[in-house]
């Protein structure tokens, strides 16, 4: 799974924002705000990571139950997919 080309991610004053640029900006208006976990997932997806890798990465980073992490990753990916952000 991979984030489509045409999005940029940037930290501003402790926030993480994503906006669409170039041709993609004609489809996506507005700003996406990511929390810390969402940012991690997004960055993995920029590199085209699979769900399992992403879950592992979050487990490394945070002290959380696998089941909950999997659910969170699933729902975030579903959201991105639903919005047409994934390839």
């Amino acid at each position: 799974m991979k984030i489509k080309k045409g999005f940029i991610l940037k930290d501003v004053a402790g926030n993480t924002f994503v906006v669409a640029v170039g041709a993609m900006s004609k489809k996506f208006n507005g700003i996406i705000t990511l929390n810390e976990t969402a940012k991690l997932i997004w960055q993995c997806l920029v590199d085209g990571a699979e769900k399992e890798e992403i879950v592992e990465k979050i487990m490394d980073e945070y002290d959380a139950e696998r089941e909950i992490v999997e659910k969170d990753v699933d729902s975030f990916i579903a959201k991105l997919d639903g919005d047409g952000i994934l390839e």
Binding site: I8, V12, N15, T33
Partner: protein, 239 residues
Amino acid sequence: MFNIRIADFVICIDNKYDFVEKLCKNYITDDENADLKVSCTDAEITSEKELFSLELGEERDLGYVESICIYRHICLFLPQNDAFVLHGAVIEKDDFAYAFLARSGTGKSTHIKLWAQAFPGEVKIVNGDKPIIRKIDGSYYAYGTPWCGKEGWNRNVRSRLKAICFLERGEVNTIEPITKKLSGQRIMKQILIPKDELGALRTFELMDDFLKNVDTWLLHCDISTEAAIVSHDAMTRRE
């Protein structure tokens, strides 16, 4: 075609309609070394006019619409030059500038009028709606520009920006410092983010730096002079 100096940039405007030249009359310069040349195509002006009509229900003449398109071009040029357009009302008192930010219709103009009433003769307008903010030698300055909202409040000046204040209506007048993080979320609604990658990245970098260099406040206020005194006393305090 004419040149203006705004925010200490020289900008050449190649216009089709007279409106923008009249609008800019206090900013015209003889300086021929333009930092930027701006012109708008007929197609661009027509499509902007349609947007006004469809989205706002406002029928605007082409000259006015051209002036809006021109400012957008200027706005997109600024981030690569340590500057940006901020949607807000900026006033000056005792050599420092203060910016009030809110959605249109919340009461920015009303609040700065209240400052003028509370401190007669001491408060001067910089720009009532869309000042340019520019970083010079590590400090941020607010500039008057011809684009300044329906009241036409602007002076061709610059003033060191001490603080920004997000304004909301409230039953009682209270002001509190607001974190840089929350300010970052709110300020995104008050700026134009370029659609090109470099411009967007630069704008975000600039916002990060800007918020580190100004005080940030959240004001809840009504429309009494007490509201102006409350915001004034907090924002002008020297540490």
